[in-house]
Each structure stands twice: as C-alpha cells, then as structure tokens.
Subunit: 218 residues, 2 copies
C-alpha cells in the first residue's frame, strides 16, 4: 500500500462530499485512519446487521441497524431492538438495504466503510453496486483500508497528489481518455486493464461517455 | 464465511485439476487450510516478488521468484539471486509474469494463492486476469481464504455440497441458465447480480454461451 501522508483532509472532504450518513457494512472492520475518521465524524451511522456487533463492541451505538438480523448477535438483537430495522428482501444485500433506507430519509450523501476484506464475491458485489446507487441520484463513496471508490459517468476531474495510485474500472464507457495520468486510457473491456495507473500532478481528468469506477488509493 | 467441513479433498482435486505448479502472489498470505494445503503439496512453486519474503520467512524455498524485484527484500534478492527471474514489463503484473513463465515451461495446470486481500484494485485485477489466462489454454484456478475462482466458457458442471455458496460473475456470456442452484440465472450485466447464489445438491450446471467466472465458496 502506498501512503501519501501529505494528502490532507480537505481533499478527503472533496472526494467524499461531506457525507450526511455513513454505512458500516459487514466486511472487515476498518483499520486505516481515513475510514475510521469518516466513521468517527459521521452525523448519522447505519450498521449492516453483524457489522453492528463490531461497532458496539468498540463502545459505540449506531443510529440504525439494518438487515435481516441473521448475523447480529442474539444479545445485540435484543438490546438494540428499538433501532433494528429488519428488511427481509432476498433480492438485495444489507448494504443496498442501508442505502435505500437512507434515501427514504432524504439522505443522499453517503459514505460506505467496512464493505470489503471478507469473501471476495461479497467485495465484488458491494463495489459494483456503487454504479447502481449512482443511478438513483445518490452521491455514494466507498472508503476501504486502501483507497476510495467513486462511481462516475462521463467526464470527471479529481484532486490528487503526484504519484498517487489510480485505477479505473470500466462499466461500459466509451471514448475513454485521461489527462494527468501516467498511462493512456482506452475503452477497457477487462477490469485489470485500467488498474495500476498513477497521477502525474495535483489533478487528473477522465474524459468518457458512460459509466466507470475510479479508485484513488491513499 | 460458510464452511462445509465435509467437503473432501478429492472434490478439491477435481476443482483444481491437480496443479503442476502453484503461484504465491503478493496479496495477503493464505490462512485457510485449502490454499495452504495446495501450497504445501505443490510440485513447483513460483513466488511473485515480495510474496517470496513471506514464503521464505515461513521456512520455505520457492523454485522461482518472479517479478521486477521492487518489493522483494534486499537480503532475499541477494540470497536467492540464482532463482530470481526478473521481468521488467510495465504492461503486465507479477501474477501474469508468473503465469507466462510457467506456460513457457510447459506447465499449464496452475493454482494461484495469495492473490487477494490487500488493495482491492489489485484483487479485482488479479481475479479478472483469470479470464485472459483461459484464452491462452492454461487451466488456472485461484484459491483464496474463502473460495475457489474458476474461469469458464460455455456450459460447465461442478461438484458441490447442498447449501454451498456460489457466485457467478458474467464476462459477457449469453443465455445463462442454471441447474442445481437456488436462484435463477440471467444475462447479468452488473457483477453483484450473480452473487449470493447457493447450490441445491451435489452438482450444479451453468448453461451459457460465452465467458464467466464461477466462485465456489468453501
């Protein structure tokens, strides 16, 4: 992992858009200061099912616990029944239930932490869902222990540090072209093709028509 | 993680095709008995760059260390220079360099371990490369701490245990249909849509035209 210690919190704010709510998903509990900071500063916290156990174990109380209750401890299910919002929908996962719940409360600026690091197929699912959340008009960012995932469409610019590690995962966008990146972009058809790029300056731009994910590693 | 303790090693053999070589990539070192077993029984071991440090630290010596040497310790680079195969190609990552090296040695049945668990964009890249390796005629499986990733094309059947957690990630296949799975398949356009399926019996079949990845969780 490459760490840019001079990347300041103002920039993190720009990338995350000052979330109105943070979702703590049911993957590995964050260990990196950036997702932990987002979690500590969150004005409203939704924990996904068993993710609540880890959060409560650390001396916190979430605003809402969401899911189907199947991975939450019996003790916490009883103790926190007043904030437990059970949604039994086999078609969506707990992360999506949490996003939908927040949207129903009018909260559109959302950060997701703790969504990766366990089963890789869950990680893949959680990451790809960011594209679907974008369709709803939500402004959702995922912060992992390694970087920020940002769902995008069409042309977008991002603040960066020279040498910052960038990956672009294409979700069907065309006419991809980069500015401020070491390696040229093209209409990638396989995920790996847009990985391992690097910013050359304090901003980079992706020109595109269509949808893609940007990964900005810390 | 769902663990089926009755899933025997014969079945693992069927899924992995008795690898001629194992690649230890540069992600998190495996902790689950299945990738560790594959590593312990490997007739030939290629470590990707810094992955060699972790392997050597545990008292082992790989057959070959491959990569551009940028994440290998100075000490091991000196001590194991006779087995260090440096490939400086910016267009591929170390995992792919290792696969290409093995193919050049005539070794086509390959298992990859330790390829996930650090930066998620690396994980995505390493997983998606399995599809490219399939194009070369290589028989490559990835074993993580949670399951086995198998690149497939067209119709395929797999041994399983009832209740085993299955995900299918579509890479452009059409006419997807499943047999022996709880949820129906369709021509998924986003990764998450094929996740969180489940086997109903001791075998399942995916009918398809085109390419996809199957994830069989332990």
């Amino acid at each position: 992992m490459k760490e840019n210690n001079n990347k300041n919190s103002v920039e993190l704010c720009v990338l995350c858009g000052e979330p109105e709510a943070v979702i703590l998903a049911n993957g590995d509990y964050p260990t990196h200061p950036r997702p932990l900071q987002i979690l500590a500063n969150a004005p409203y916290i939704v924990c996904c099912d068993g993710g609540a156990d880890a959060y409560i174990d650390r001396g916190n109380v979430p605003d809402v616990i969401i899911g189907d209750g199947d991975s939450l401890s019996e003790e916490n299910r009883r103790k926190y029944s007043h904030i437990l919002h059970c949604v039994s929908d086999q078609e969506t996962n707990d992360q999506t239930k949490a996003v939908n719940f927040l949207l129903s409360q009018g909260k559109r600026n959302i950060a997701i932490v703790g969504a990766t690091g366990k089963r890789e197929d869950h990680t893949l699912g959680n990451i790809s869902l960011l594209i679907d959340y974008m369709h709803t008009g939500a402004h959702v960012r995922m912060l992992t222990d390694y970087g920020i995932f940002i769902p995008c469409h069409d042309t977008c610019s991002f603040p960066s540090q020279p040498g910052q590690q960038i990956s672009i995962i294409n979700f069907g966008a065309h006419n991809l072209r980069g500015e401020g990146l070491v390696y040229p972009l093209s209409d990638f058809t396989n995920w790996w093709q847009g990985t391992l790029n690097e910013s050359t300056g304090t901003e980079f731009t992706i020109y595109a028509e269509g949808e893609y994910l940007v990964v900005i590693n810390y």
